[in-house]
Amino acid sequence: MAEDKTGDDLLRVRGLRIGFGAGPTIVEGVDLTLAPGRLVCLVGESGSGKSLTALSLMRLLPSHAKIEAQQMRFEERDLLSLSETEMEGLRGDRIAMIFQEPMTSLNPVMTVGDQIAEALVTHRGSSRSEARDAALAMLERVQIPAAKERMRAYPHELSGGMRQRVMIAMALVCRPALLVADEPTTALDVTIQNQILTLIDELRSEIGAAVLFITHNLAVVAEIADEIAVMYAGRIVERGSRAAIFDDPLHPYTLALFAALPRRGDAGRKLACIDGQVPAPSAMPQGCRFAPRCPFAIEHCRQETPPLAALRPGHDVACWRAPIEEHMA
């Protein structure tokens, strides 16, 4: 991930900055690379900018949002210079998105079957009957029981888990190259979450789609990620393969997140908390943004922003003090 690979990358974002109006920059200098078929988890807490980053790729931010990037390329297209019409042609076809709350993307007064079929009619010029056949096949694929009858159902007649499946069917029916999934299982019960994660994993290999999966849940990340990018206060602070992040975590914020997890054998023991709070966008500290909460911070951390650099092959971290054991001796 660290090297500047070119060629077969599906999505390449360099130096993404997002702000609103004259306000402060909220996302600052985010780089993302996605190869076909890979699942990248963007991890962070509220206010980290992970959802803004995802929405900016879809160009779904409100009009007063300022999005800048040195590069924002998807399949040879420059996402920032596409017209709104061209972008509409891309959304739901080559790039699809699913959300935490399926009702935000489902039309309440349209049957499930028509909604899924509509994407094919719009983007692929399929006939009504072709589109309906494909919609039914997709509903069966996402394991909706009695799919034929459910084609005529309205979203409110379905359970939360079923709605999530319908939304996935709708997102994937055009076989997108990129699926952006923003906390798609956060509101679901664990048994249903398990089913949906399995489904997303199976479908991305069937379709060969890359997935950008946004979540704050490290247990979910451990289950599905190929690669992980950890965000804090608008910046990526660490990124690498799943094994790199879980076996060799380097950034103190990543460590702090791990330390806050209740694990077996912890009952009765205090969980490690992070002192203080995420800084407000208008009051970002100088230097490393995590420094005010970092127990390892030294003066240098508060003066100068650490670059996101490869400390190991394919494993980048933005910390002057990593790996910490080498600086503590």
Binding site: D189, F246, K270, C273
Partner: protein
């Protein structure tokens, strides 16, 4: 032995719904014959998925909604038999906090006033001492006295949850019903609130009825656990036994489905079948049978009773509970993580301890 703080027996709640203008009304049994005991200073974790009835039980216990059938005995008093006046008095000793702290805080009331109000209402302090008590409460939940002059919206989600906890503590309750108190919080804030609840229990001896769908948090806090499925307790007993050797197939499914922060191959995960039945659906047998990998014909014929099957205080509503082989659950123990992970986490904990002291 002293009487337990809370005894709940055969609690049942049914909602009737008219599904259409000319259709027959239907009955949904959302809580069905639920019994459990919460000891003093203990934490009873009520776990289950959405629609299992766990939040309804919390509200029934406080009589925020009325049960159809059943007994609720709080510190020897039959809660359902109390008149309005006695119930009001008892309510001081039973509090509730919610997932969304906004629902228990008046947005137009400054935090200091929100905490002082219940103290004055119940005449728990001389008026001159109320201010000191409010400061003490804020300190207890890790907030400074400057919080008194501010409004709830000026605080972050985690701080608001602390304020809601402080308000619940203001009346010096014996029991706090915690309804998903950490579910909406970020991981690092969740850890703070979990620690706070554990500290308050140790310092003040408060008991919790802790309602959650997060198995890891319940395992961390609860002393005993009741697992709800479709309105019924399907397994209950001491927390460590339930997490170490779950006996009911649904408890097993919940634990197997809960993701753990340890990388595994997707193929190592077990498929989870189906969804819970609708509460309107009446079934002759076990309500979990349609999703159960161990179901046999008798399971579908008559409902299994919650019954004791060992001498460790454990109960399960499953005719096969005693005979099922132990289940191999993937562990998320820190000792399984890499050496680098453990070494750096140890350094972090040391550094934090050094900084705090």
């Amino acid at each position: 032995m002293s009487v337990p703080l809370l005894v709940v027996e055969n609690l049942t709640k049914t909602y009737a719904s008219k599904s259409g203008l000319f259709r027959k009304s239907r009955e949904a049994r959302v809580v069905d014959d639920v019994s459990f005991i919460l000891g003093r200073g203990e934490v009873f974790g009520l776990v289950g998925e959405s629609g299992s009835g766990k939040s309804t039980i919390g509200r029934l216990v406080l009589r925020l909604i009325e049960a159809d059938v059943g007994r609720i005995v709080f510190d020897g008093q039959d809660v359902r038999a109390l008149d309005a006046g006695s119930l009001r008095k008892l309510r001081r000793r039973m509090q509730i906090i919610f997932q969304d702290p906004f629902s228990s805080l008046d947005p137009r009331m400054r935090v200091g006033e929100a905490l002082a109000e219940p103290i004055r209402l119940h005449r728990l302090r001389e008026s001159a001492a109320v201010g000191t008590r409010v400061e003490e409460l804020l300190r207890l939940v890790g907030l400074g006295p400057e919080a008194m002059g501010r409004y709830p919206h000026e605080f972050s989600g985690g701080q608001r949850q602390r304020i809601a906890i402080a308000r619940a503590l203001a009346v010096e309750p014996d029991l706090i019903v915690c309804d998903e108190p950490v579910s909406a919080l970020d991981l690092s804030i969740q850890a703070q609130v979990v620690n706070l609840l554990a500290d308050l229990r140790a310092q003040l001896g408060v008991s919790y009825l802790f309602i959650s769908h997060d198995m890891a948090v319940v395992r961390h806090l609860a002393t005993s656990v009741g697992v709800l499925y479709s309105g019924r307790i399907v397994e209950s007993g001491p927390a460590e036994r339930i997490f170490a050797d779950p006996r009911h197939p649904y408890t097993r499914m919940l634990l197997e489905a809960s993701p753990i922060p340890v990388p595994r191959e997707m193929s190592a995960r077990k498929p989870m079948l189906g969804e819970p039945p609708s509460p309107y659906q009446t079934l002759p047998g076990c309500r979990f049978a349609s999703r159960c990998p161990h179901a046999v014909d008798p399971c579908r014929a008559s409902p299994p009773l919650l019954s004791a099957f060992d001498d460790g205080g454990r109960q399960a509503a499953c005719i096969r509970a005693a005979e099922l082989p132990p289940v191999a659950l993937a562990s998320d123990d820190e000792s399984l993580m890499s050496e680098a992970y453990r070494r750096r986490l140890a350094l972090l904990r040391e550094a934090r301890a050094g900084r705090v002291s």
